[in-house]
């Protein structure tokens, strides 16, 4: 059996959970897939998850599990996993996962392979692909020791809409857990958003990046409009930040940020290797450059060889439709 541990906060499901369920379904090969959802009150979220074609959705409910703490989760989940005895435990590689799963796996003495992007059969077992050395290499890793094996998957490793839906909602059950409040050593306060914080491009879903093809600072306005039309953050190649047209924290590349958004649109960027290392992990890359030979096209999924000053307005119009 494969157990997916879904993630929710105050009754809102983290979308990345769907991706992990999709992977579990692909991995299953006849084995049942179950989804566990820990939290304070997870009834509605469990119902939502039950839409997936899975054997069962398991509610792991306890008032001590909301808000999340690593101690609480480790206590509750080690008990439930022990009981359900799955072959694999899969999770999305979120910040919360990173916070407790190593502890959980260590407590149970089981293997944990993190940040995976794919799996493939390897001599009767499964090997998991994960980046190493900052994405310069990809490792095929096999977990060792007794089951269950914990595996976390990078956000974007699968498509959420690849989840196979069931004909009827899956059964929702509740596994009772006891979590002694006193055993939880962390006292979390309410989350907050920083009033004025630095942009974190590594978190952006879509990025529109401009390069020297934009020619002048005044023209940045056009790039801003393109970004707005895509619902994207604006970023740039080094010369743009060097010139002070955009702040340094918006620079993508070897001496700037490394990003892997769902969509990366490069406007007038040639694609020097120092830029590419910062963005080539993006899921979908669009390049618009008037030089059809520019190296950026080698990493692009979609390319338009043309003048950005003609194409950008057309794009804005098209996206506005």
């Amino acid at each position: 059996m494969i157990l997916v541990i879904a993630e929710q906060k105050n009754g809102t499901l983290n979308r990345a959970s769907w991706e992990t369920i999709a992977i579990a379904q692909q991995m299953a090969g006849g084995q049942p897939v179950k989804v566990a959802i820990p939290g304070g009150a997870v009834g509605p979220v469990a119902q939502e998850l039950a839409a997936a074609k899975v054997a069962e959705v398991v509610r792991i409910e306890h008032e001590a599990l909301e808000p999340y703490t690593p101690d609480g989760f480790t206590l509750a989940l080690s008990a439930v996993i022990g009981q359900l005895a799955p072959q694999y435990v899969l999770l999305p590689h979120t910040y919360q996962t990173r916070d407790f799963v190593p502890k959980l796996a260590a407590r149970m003495g089981r293997a944990l392979v993190t940040d995976c992007t794919a799996f493939r059969p390897e001599g009767g077992a499964l090997a998991f692909a994960r980046p190493m050395f900052q994405g310069k290499l990809v490792a095929q890793v096999v977990p060792e020791g007794d089951a269950p094996h914990f595996v976390t998957f990078q956000i974007g490793a699968a498509r959420a809409d690849a989840v196979v839906k069931g004909d009827a909602p899956a059964a929702v059950t509740t596994v009772p857990v006891t979590v002694a409040r006193a055993a939880i050593r962390q006292q979390p306060e309410a989350p907050f958003q920083e009033a004025k914080q630095a942009v974190d491009l590594s978190q952006a879903e879509r990025i529109v990046a401009v390069g020297r093809g934009i020619k002048s600072q005044e023209n940045l306005e056009l790039a801003r409009k393109v970004a707005a039309a895509f619902g994207a953050e604006l970023a740039a190649s080094r010369p743009i930040c060097d010139a002070g047209w955009l702040p340094m924290e918006r620079q993508i590349g070897s001496s700037g940020q490394t990003v892997a958004p769902k969509l990366y649109v490069a406007l007038g960027i040639s694609g020097a290797i120092q830029h590419l290392v910062g963005m080539k992990g993006s899921r979908t890359i669009v390049a618009i450059n008037k030089d059809a030979e520019a190296p950026i096209f080698e990493v692009a999924d979609y390319g338009i060889a043309g003048d950005l000053f003609e194409i950008a307005p057309a794009l804005i119009a098209e996206l506005g439709k």
Partner: protein
Amino acid sequence: MTSTVERETLDVDVLIVGGGPAGLSAALKLSQLQKRTGGEPLSIAVLEKARETGAHMMSGAVLDVSALKELVPDFLDRQAPLASEVHEDHIYFLTPGGKLRFPITPAPFRNHGNYIISLNRFVKWLSEQVEAEGIDIFSGFAGREVLYDGDRVIGVRTGDRGIDKHGQPRDNFEPGVDIHAKVTIFADGVRGNLTKELQRRFQLGAGREPQSFAIGIKELWEVPAGRIRPGTVIHTMGYPLNTEEFGGGFVYAMPDNRVFVGFVSGLDYVDPMFDPHVAFQRFKLHPLVRGIIEGGQMIRYGAKALPEGGWNTIPRPYLDGALIVGDAAGFMNSMRLKGIHLAMRSGMLAADAAFEAVNAGDASAARLKRYETLINASPIRKELYPVRNVHQAFGHGFVAGFLYAGIAMVTNGWWFDRMTGHAGQDRIQTIARYYTRRGRQVPEGATQAVKPDRQVTFDKLTNVHYSGTRHDEDQPVHLLVHTEVCESICGPEYNYPCQRFCPANVYEIVTEAVGNRLQINASNCVHCKTCDIMDPYQVITWVPPEGGGGPQYDGM
């Protein structure tokens, strides 16, 4: 700001600036002398601008082990990283599609008993020998200016760290340190920024010929098995250079299918549109080289200038409180393309002179002159004196130069004695003179530029990526350029030659509505020093960036 801050000071007996073969040999020799004579241990400090010793080492390199044998007689037991003994030696004269092999290898080019090394690895090893003696090597610290008491050198100030690109101190600002020494040994390599300062201030080159330089560009390759036997050394002349240009290529084969491929271009070319990086690309495309590297992988890139003037250009290497060693002084045999052993030996001799001076409590120039006496009696002179005019001879055309190289060996070099050189960079001609007036077409980019195929040939930016270069981007530009000269004079006359002679694309001309603007991508800089040497109006000054910045020449 710099005048008011409180600075750390450090007092040592001998300060060595530059942790290359010259500086480290001086350090090691000093501690050996100390051990032999006993007494109070000397305090010795070595400053090196690289993050770790060896990181800025970029050389061929075929090592003549003569000096190493004296300095570390048991170097084999101590596992000096010598990649391979030289087994085969070839010299070719290249034509565009073919090659002529020199039937015999002239004596000075013979490499029997020499070793192919990665100077990066070798220097790391040498620094371990030095540290084992308890000597402090401060890597990540650049000597920024020389400290004087009157006209006596009393030490060096290291660069301030933690200054942002507008020149303002950041929270972690750390002022440079004043290191005071009884004797300071300058081992800051080719066109060392501190040695340059000394040369200017004290006219150390007076009565000598001006130095001339070359730039060497090299890649480390992993090639398919069986292409070339480890221990093979190939030197080439001719293609892709024409007869007015000096230089040549090399291929050195190591075990594990690793090969160094490099090209040296004299910085005394006349064509303002010449680009040494292009010459290197064309060299790699020659069937001889291409046949070795094609299908392999380029794994490291680097570039560095080298002094080529030889014996007649060596400045006075001693002054009150200071000595100059290695490439900084120009101890380099350009005909053999070898300087490591000379750098080491000059360091050892300087150690000798410094040791004596410190013990005598007298570090005056008169006392330190002994260093020059030692050099004149050493194998350094024996090697360099006979070939003292070779480079200048090449300045008179390739054929003359090569003939000369042979004759010089036989005649001890008297033949061309009156052939004076001029600073090589002065030979570059204006666009008008080289092209327009002779009715030649000015090329659009560099002369005979090749389109990089990203298999065998690369553009500069891709290459720089493979040099491992990193600088903190938030620091002042370390290339001080009088940009007004660029736009008003150098651009129109020479068509911005800095774009071409810089092997790291630091200088870029950006065309804007208001005209051309020189964009300096300082963080690309691989510290080769070519711009400091080659710009026609001498308006570029290379100063060390924040310590620790620069290339990372693993295995080079």
